[in-house]
């Protein structure tokens, strides 16, 4: 696939069932370039954009028809800062779809020129988006602290130095060294979690060290 050669972040995604469907996953920053590449030849035409609320992110599916094959460019934008560049300069037909998604899901299409509402009434409150759900992930409330501990320290239960003091006061023998006290081993666990995509599925924000939802 030429797109995969041209864009470093592009990879063939599952979900394209049948010979006449192809699905490619992209980073949001690469969508504009990908759309340019797809529409470069005269064979392709823009079909539509579909927005799906996945709980943590808004998934955007850009559909194109390429000689009867439906090509889907899949990308996601985080709900906290859901913004992506507009594709209307390349595909004018996307103008109304983008505006509809902006109104209903609250995704900002940077560079989109239309300001007035198309679908919602003019006096609709700015912050209220009818099809946007609150940010929510798969981790149940009881397990959220454990998941945060796991991602920060590599273990679901952190044992602090106070435990050793309490044991000593109680007259118990000293604890054997815990695996969680070994930073090399814990780093390995964290790396494995990241490589398996656990952090993304759980909705863990590595920048803040917390889950993206309460």
């Amino acid at each position: 696939m030429l797109l995969e050669e041209r864009l470093t972040g592009a990879r063939r995604a599952a979900g394209g069932k049948g010979k006449r469907r192809v699905s490619v996953e992209l980073d949001a920053a690469e969508v504009k370039e990908a759309v340019l590449a797809v529409l470069h030849g005269e064979r392709a035409r823009f079909v539509t954009i579909v927005a799906v609320d996945t709980g943590l992110d808004i998934e955007l599916l850009y559909n194109f028809s390429l000689d009867g094959v439906l090509l889907t460019l899949r990308t996601s934008v985080a709900k906290e800062a859901s913004a992506i560049e507009t594709i209307t300069p390349m595909a004018p037909g996307a103008e109304f779809i983008e505006k509809e998604i902006a109104e209903l899901f609250g995704v900002e299409f940077v560079g989109h020129t239309r300001r007035t509402n198309l679908v919602l009434p003019d006096d609709w409150p700015t912050g209220k988006r009818p099809l946007r759900k609150p940010i929510v992930g798969d981790v149940i409330p009881q397990a959220r602290a454990s998941v945060e501990n796991l991602m920060i320290g590599g273990t679901s239960i952190r044992v602090g130095p106070s435990s050793a003091v309490k044991r000593e006061k109680a007259g118990l023998p000293r604890m054997p060294p815990l695996a969680s006290a070994n930073p090399v081993q814990m780093q390995e666990v964290k790396d494995l979690l990241i490589r398996s995509g656990f952090d993304k599925r759980a909705g863990f924000d590595r920048r803040t060290g917390k889950l993206r939802y309460k």
Partner: protein, 162 residues
């Protein structure tokens, strides 16, 4: 009757390319009314379930030479502009008699109940939105002379299909 000057362009529709997405209707409604309300669109896409190919047909103003809508309009609200080739309508002159809708062979003008006048394609003042938003290229601008030949071929082939 007023005729268009040579070199004017019109909108042509090629049914074999249309996918029935109706973006043209949306684009037209948004341009003229500021809302996605296809009932107020100046172009209409018809769907024929009985056909296996070329199922869609566009009903849009052909900006005719010898426009019959101009001829029947009692208030002279409809005028043919020779320079641009467009048949334009002056809403302030229109009395809402709907004669243009009856007289037009395609019934292109529509009656707008809110404005209480007939409205029709105004060519978006030179850059039709329906053509701009048609991603399949079924709607396109072409020279009037070419459009006459193309439409003659299309309608003759449609006649053969029956």
């Amino acid at each position: 009757m007023a005729r268009s000057q040579p070199g004017t362009s019109v909108i042509v529709f090629e049914p074999q390319l249309c996918t029935g997405c109706r973006y043209c209707e949306i684009a037209c409604a948004v341009w003229h009314c500021g809302r996605i309300d296809v009932t107020r669109s100046r172009i209409r896409i018809l769907f024929d379930e009985g056909r296996t190919a070329e199922r869609y047909a566009a009903v849009n103003c052909q900006h005719c030479d010898d426009a019959i809508c101009c001829a029947v309009c009692p208030s002279e609200a409809l005028q043919k502009d020779q320079k641009t080739g467009w048949v334009t309508q002056n809403s302030t002159k229109c009395v809402g008699c709907e004669m243009c809708i009856v007289a037009c062979p395609l019934s292109v003008p529509i009656f707008d109940p809110a404005l209480k006048v007939a409205v029709k394609c105004d060519f978006c003042l030179g850059a039709p939105e329906c053509v701009k938003h048609c991603s399949s290229g079924a709607l396109r601008l072409c020279a009037r002379e070419e459009a006459v030949q193309l439409n003659a071929r299309l309608y003759l082939s449609a006649k053969d299909d029956r």
